[in-house]
């Protein structure tokens, strides 16, 4: 019975303009995301090939990941060049981080398609699942038969979900296959596993927003009102909560601005140079150069020690607040899985800091010996899940269960008149 109802839902909608338009839109966006994502990846790869660490070179740069084609996240920041000097670590801007116009008019990646477009399509396919039947009068005729309401609502839910998720899965797999066949994309087993998990997360996310639409459709009696309410929830989850969370997090956990940090570093540099000049006047043949470097190193370390815990606290607060929304949780989860998220950034910065601690004296010729070659391996799927990913999965599953259960319970007492 459930499958027959689901089949009816699919057949009723599959030849509609709504289905055709939204599927074509999804296909176009996927194609754009693959083309642009690959272009960006190649640009980062070229940059890396030029600047990649060589023996005895102090260059620190992380190899771009092909997963950034799915979720760009913080990849532009992660793949910047870190230079070590007497002032400590200096981060060079790359082409993508310098050109701010890209931030203003960001081209969607596959994460954007999942988080925004897939959720929107799921809502647009489910907001009228019940209200439309009531308006056209078929709900009473349907319920006049000996059919359980539970079977009807589950069938409707399954049909609407299939209508959204099957075309998405086909397009996602096509995009994945295309990317795996492109030159310069090193495909490993981890690449496939990570994408499988992204697909599973998208599945739960589609279930969630289909549940949102169905729930609203089961509490409201007019399709026009149901659409407005469903889209408001979508807007709240996808844009309002995640965007406001970052603003609130900044208020709750104040962090000194990068300008202030830079200013303090410069002041320390001036102070160190002044001290050196003063001491060289007193002892012309002393070790003032070495002293100055050490003084600078100490002051930079002090600033970093003060700044990084605050920055990490800000990230934790932001993550916690963003997770109030399932879309926020999905963003964190998918960027972490793609190794372009906050977790990877903290991990990479730790790796760079530790490398610099080990090699600072050799790089600045304060002690003899070869400079260690910087090597960095991105986090595995297991590591991401055990460190942070499980929280996001729980959040998304919680919201999906909540809305699906609410839609189910509400329909059992729905007035079909």
């Amino acid at each position: 019975m459930i499958w027959s109802i689901a089949k009816k839902e699919i057949l009723e909608n599959i030849f509609s303009y709504r289905f055709s338009i939204l599927t074509v839109l999804l296909a176009l966006l996927m194609a754009v995301a693959v083309i642009v994502g690959y272009g960006d990846f190649l640009l980062r790869l070229e940059n890396y090939e030029v600047l990649r660490p060589m023996p005895n070179s102090p260059n620190i740069i992380i190899e771009p990941t092909p997963m950034s084609m799915f979720a760009k996240g913080l990849e532009a920041n992660l793949t910047r060049l870190y230079e070590v000097s007497i002032l400590g670590i200096e981060i060079r801007q790359n082409q993508q981080s310098v050109n701010r116009i890209f931030s203003l008019f960001a081209v969607p990646d596959i994460l954007f398609i999942i988080k925004v477009v897939l959720a929107l399509i799921a809502v647009l396919f489910s907001f009228d699942a019940i209200t439309h039947e009531k308006e056209q009068g078929t709900l009473k005729l349907t319920l006049s038969n000996g059919i359980r309401r539970s079977s009807l609502v589950v069938g409707k839910f399954a049909g609407r979900f299939v209508l959204v998720f099957v075309p998405f899965t086909v397009l996602f797999l096509l995009a994945l296959l295309t990317m795996s066949l492109l030159p310069s994309v090193a495909v490993t087993s981890s690449f496939w596993w990570k994408n499988l998990v992204i697909l599973l997360a998208s599945c739960v996310y589609t279930l969630l927003f289909t549940g949102v639409g169905l729930f609203v459709s089961s509490i409201i009696h007019r399709s026009s009102t149901s659409m407005v309410v469903s889209l408001s929830i979508w807007l709240l989850f996808v844009f309002i909560i995640p965007n406001f969370s970052t603003v609130i997090a900044k208020r709750l956990t104040p962090v000194p601005t990068s300008d202030r940090i830079e200013m303090e570093t410069r002041l320390n540099t001036i102070q160190a140079i002044y001290n050196r000049i003063q001491r060289e006047k007193e002892e012309p043949r002393g070790m003032e150069g070495v002293r100055m470097i050490r003084q600078l190193r100490e002051s930079t370390t002090r600033i970093t020690e003060l700044y990084r815990p605050k920055m990490n606290a800000l990230m934790r607060t932001t993550k916690s607040l963003v997770r109030i929304s399932p879309s926020g949780a999905l963003n964190v989860l998918l960027t972490d899985i793609a190794n372009t998220g906050l977790y990877e950034e903290v991990r990479a910065k730790d790796a760079v800091t530790q490398y610099v601690e080990r090699n600072f004296n050799r790089i600045n010729e304060l002690e003899p010996g070869p400079i260690e070659l910087f090597r960095y391996t991105r986090a595995s799927l297991g590591e991401v899940f055990s460190a942070t990913g499980y929280v996001d999965v729980v959040v998304i599953l919680f919201f999906a269960t909540l809305f699906i259960a609410a839609a189910y319970v509400r329909f059992l007492i729905y007035d079909p008149r």
Binding site: G137, K140, L141, G146
Partner: protein, 236 residues
């Protein structure tokens, strides 16, 4: 058999829509419930299909209490509304197939659907046509076709001839006679006095939720139903 025993419905806003309705419709009988808008006719149908819960009393179909065993009761009843609405993008046959599947009939073939559509008088060319192109009369006929294929012993109709042209209404009443001949218990709510007199074995007049008058077909041979209806409607 269709039974209402002290069936009462008071809505949340305090409106008494149905007040201790008692009626019994035997197999092979057509009962017409007459009344103005808001008299409680549709509320009665809604109670039989468990669309709303009764405040007190019971509605029964073939012995099954519609509030306590709604699924069993609904298996034994077919519903035709004032304006049969179907899935516009589906053909007549696809609509039949879907609704008869809901009624638990999965053994039917294309020929069975065609046969019943012929039986209710739908033109052959319309069988595989999308329902959104159908006139109201054609949709009503398709509604009856669904009810026939359900093979339920009870048939409840809510203003089924409203808006139909005289020819279509006459054809519809002929169909009801055929179903009565097959032993169905039929409850038809209507405000069409002419059709009620023509079709009913018994007629009841409702006003403000109360069944204020009942007559058999034989009794109506000596009385003018239209005058009777107007007389009862005028009484405050």
């Amino acid at each position: 058999m269709i039974e209402a025993i002290d069936l009462t419905k008071r809505y949340e806003d305090g409106l008494l829509a149905l007040d201790h309705l008692n009626l019994t419709i035997q197999p092979g009988q057509i009962y017409c419930l007459l009344g103005a808008n808001g008299a409680g006719k549709t509320t009665t149908i809604n109670l039989f299909f468990d669309f709303i819960e009764p405040t007190s009393g019971a509605a029964r179909i073939n012995g099954f209490d519609c509030a306590k065993s709604p699924l069993d009761a609904k298996k034994h009843a077919a519903y035709v509304s004032e304006n049969v609405m179907l899935y516009g993008n589906f053909t007549a046959r696809q609509n039949l197939a879907f609704f008869t599947m809901l009624a638990g009939r999965k053994d039917l073939k294309k020929e069975d659907y065609h046969m019943v559509m012929r039986q209710v008088g739908l033109p052959e060319r319309s069988f595989e046509q999308r329902v959104k192109t159908f006139s109201k009369g054609m949709r009503q006929k398709l509604g009856i076709a669904i009810a026939i294929l359900k093979q339920a012993p009870a048939l409840l109709l809510d203003e089924p001839t409203a808006g139909l042209d005289p020819k279509a209404a006459a054809e519809f009443i002929d169909l009801l006679f055929r179903l009565r001949g097959e032993g169905k218990a039929i409850l038809m709510c209507t405000h069409d006095v002419f059709r009620a007199k023509e079709a009913a074995d018994r007629v009841g007049i409702m006003k403000e939720g109360i069944l204020i008058m009942e007559r058999t077909k034989e009794e109506l041979l000596h009385e003018n139903l239209e005058k009777l209806y107007l007389k009862y409607m005028e009484v405050s």
